[in-house]
């Protein structure tokens, strides 16, 4: 099997009409590429077509830039929103965090052992470095950007500057407990992933585990979603739940929730980095692994 470095991932969406798969696959065949895995979906509601292809070159290695150049006219003909990347080319990811570091710790572990291949361009926290004293950052730049109501504008400008300076393609709110302003949310549209500690749309807003305890639900959950200006309403990427009993205190829910949060966020980020997630209006198409 071709290794990741030989593979290319094409992801696209466009208005549906006949001939899209034929055009794409014929182009790939004529470019001497082999399709290793592919999924297509035609949404009857939105009238849009979604496609993801993992391919490798047959014989000589494929030059992604050449492949992109050749693909551009097809993309234009079908009005595609599309990306094509060498699988082995790592994406640049900025992590934001507040006091609770279970998601940060988990993502860094998965990154270190190669489970989530990426370049972590930096960590931005509104708490100081010693809050995370036990975490080996392995040389990742750490930025302490405290924030108050009065300084929020400046702090967000600094975040945005850091994203630009580091050429970060993806921003992860790994239990970053500050609401992004509409302005920053707009700039990060479709590439900023948040983990909300409830099974949305239940228990929006603050202290969802306390709300869940109050309501007496029998399962709690977490939701990873793209950040939009509409708080807790962004397109959902992944959700999961665990069973709880009447004995569980709010603190127990927080504890159980940590496990759900970290695995839901890790899945969402992995899938995003593998171009498995494509926006479909207020929803997402997620081609499963």
């Amino acid at each position: 099997m071709a290794t990741a470095t030989d593979q290319v991932i094409l992801a696209l969406s466009c208005p549906n009409r006949p001939g899209i798969v034929a055009a794409v696959s014929t182009y790939l065949f004529e470019s001497r590429c082999n399709i290793q895995e592919a999924s297509q979906y035609d949404d009857p509601d939105s009238g849009r077509f979604f496609m993801r292809v993992v391919l490798n070159a047959v014989g000589a290695p494929v030059a992604v830039e050449d492949l992109k150049t050749g693909f551009a006219p097809i993309a234009e003909r079908f009005q595609m929103a599309w990306t094509m990347r060498a699988r082995g080319e790592l994406r640049r990811v900025m992590l934001l965090v507040s006091k609770f570091d279970h998601c940060l710790t988990d993502l860094l572990y998965r990154w270190r052992i190669g489970e989530i291949p990426m370049i972590v361009t930096g960590i931005i926290a509104n708490h100081s470095r010693d809050t995370y004293a036990h975490i080996d950052l392995d040389g990742i730049p750490f930025h302490h950007l405290p924030v108050t109501k009065e300084t929020k504008l400046e702090q967000e400008t600094r975040i945005w500057d850091l994203v630009k300076e580091t050429r970060s393609e993806v921003v992860v709110l790994a239990r970053y407990m500050q609401v992004l302003s509409d302005g920053l949310a707009a700039k990060l549209k479709g590439r900023c992933i948040n983990i909300h500690h409830s099974f949305l749309p239940g228990f929006k807003g603050a202290k969802p585990y306390h709300q869940a305890h109050e309501r007496g639900v029998k399962l709690i959950g977490a939701t990873a979603h793209y950040v939009t200006s509409d708080l807790d309403e962004g397109p959902i990427i992944e959700q999961d739940v665990e069973r709880i009993s009447h004995q569980a205190t709010p603190d127990d829910l927080v504890r159980k929730g940590r496990d759900i949060e970290r695995r839901v966020l890790a899945r969402a980020l992995s899938w995003h980095l593998e171009d498995r997630v494509i926006l479909n209006g207020k929803r997402t198409v997620v081609f499963p692994s």
Copy 2:
């Protein structure tokens, strides 16, 4: 092991204070009873204590009435809300249903093979008997009580009369798609179980599967709860979920939901009939099987 007919189930709740378990278990011991299974829980929020005991007589069979008489003074001393029943003595259950009969069919199947031991006192439907032509009612009385806004008062009065006439202890809304009035809900407090076709508190009200599709959630669920005058806000007994994909249409969600609904309702009813569910304000204590 003692068979069900030999067993007695005691369930109680009361303000917490030391000595409750000692008083109860000493009484049972002196009454020559053996504790087969028991659970206790002290809720720090409400300050209430909850207990469920399955017991059997050692030697001569136990007369539940005698056991109750002897227990009454203890119950009074600790201000208990309590029930004590012979496990083999079947409870009387009335089923209400509208057009969709998957929950009804499922409950009747479980009843027929002895999985949910009960006496089904009748079926009340706002659709006519031929809607359920394929179901063998096995002699269970069927009552067609159509309802309109204008006749709702009369129809509910008739329902209440049937509940009284049949001495039904439990009422199950097995996808009965009419909202009970506050008055009827009040009369059935703590003994009327509804199945809502969403993972509450998400997607209250009508067409929850369409709401779920619109929102793009990745799991759908169902919720069994006690009916209160506050729609979809009653104490939750049981919930469950299943994973869905972006391909799922609202009709697919309805189809998947049927499986979740019927198993959640069956569990909730079973647990209620086994006295595993005790009300705790707006929540429930459920001692697991």
Copy 3:
């Protein structure tokens, strides 16, 4: 969206080589077909390629026979094992059952309400009709074929005759508790689905719930698989599990297991009928719904 009657499903597998998707999709495009949903998978182990396409005609309705005729040369070129069917054309399914009828009852319910579209060609049971007295067979032919060691050959010959006479394409062992002979298993290769009441490969053979209780596992499950001459070793289509506690008796496991069995078997049959399941040696490729 095109309704099921307008849709055609193509499913295929073949040795992997470049150009398969291009050839298939170009053919479909030139035949004025639109791809609504598709999945491809290239198995690096077996070197085989798998593909499933749901398509509909653009404009004039598509004649499946014509589409098949045109596709045959492509299929030959790539050495494909393939099927192409009008989605609305119902498959013919024979159900086999023994004493426990929960899977049979469930499949018939799903068939009746249109959830599993199929033609049930008959029910074969080694118990008599009155064992299933409460089931409305709705005119489905019922065949009582009792079996002993001595009569097994004759009984299986009769089963095979019934399968042929009724032109049944699929045979479902819906808790049919007789082991098929190698001969009959061979004739039904790839189209006979069994439900085994354990999470295979754990607890093969008889009384799996008793084995599970004995071993003290914390989850029990069920497995739907294609029948092969190698007992409990056939390619797995679907599995699921539920959590159990130390309190559960073998009877409780049997009861819980019924729920798992019926939903696992229903999923497996649905997926098979929708051509989502393709054999891959001793394993299966299942394109998810």
Copy 4:
């Protein structure tokens, strides 16, 4: 609510006979203790009775030693195997690990944030300290004890010495990939927890994820169990599973498995430390949290 430091946990098992709960709870009441949470279970197979009580003192703080002294005669009368501990008194735990450190990392994280309260007495690895370079051991003694067939006896003797020297009550094989000898297993009976990377009893022995891939199962799992001299046959404490697809390679299963393993092991260890797990022959009673 009483904090952990005020609470005492009593766990016991004994031959079943009437009067056990009465004797225990009367003693606790007379010792001015309040029962906060309790569970009892009478196993009809083994004829043994199991009980776990969380209690706190009413008024003056309770001296556990006094409580134990007073309880001893009751324990003797009923032939109890029992423990009674102050909840706030941390147990001493030794962790053993090989190359893969996901379980070790996870347990240390949970320990650090207080989720699993314990004293980690040391880490024993058959790989050198630099294998775990990124882990902040926070002063926990690290012992590199490499092992070969020839040195196994000496190495295990050293392990046992370390367990004794550090007064470790619990030993956790956190993906320690060496089989313990019968001798060492016997010394650690009922207090050595292993995580096996399959859903036992399926896929015993080496490379279970490769076995699972070969067999084509649709769910993979992990099992935490007490170590016995019978490899992979010890009493099961906890199991969990996740769904996989036909696309998953053995490496994908290993990756998915890491998540299951670490949460299953963490739950098993937590429950063991909270005295929720009581041995019942080859099985366990686990009183749920």
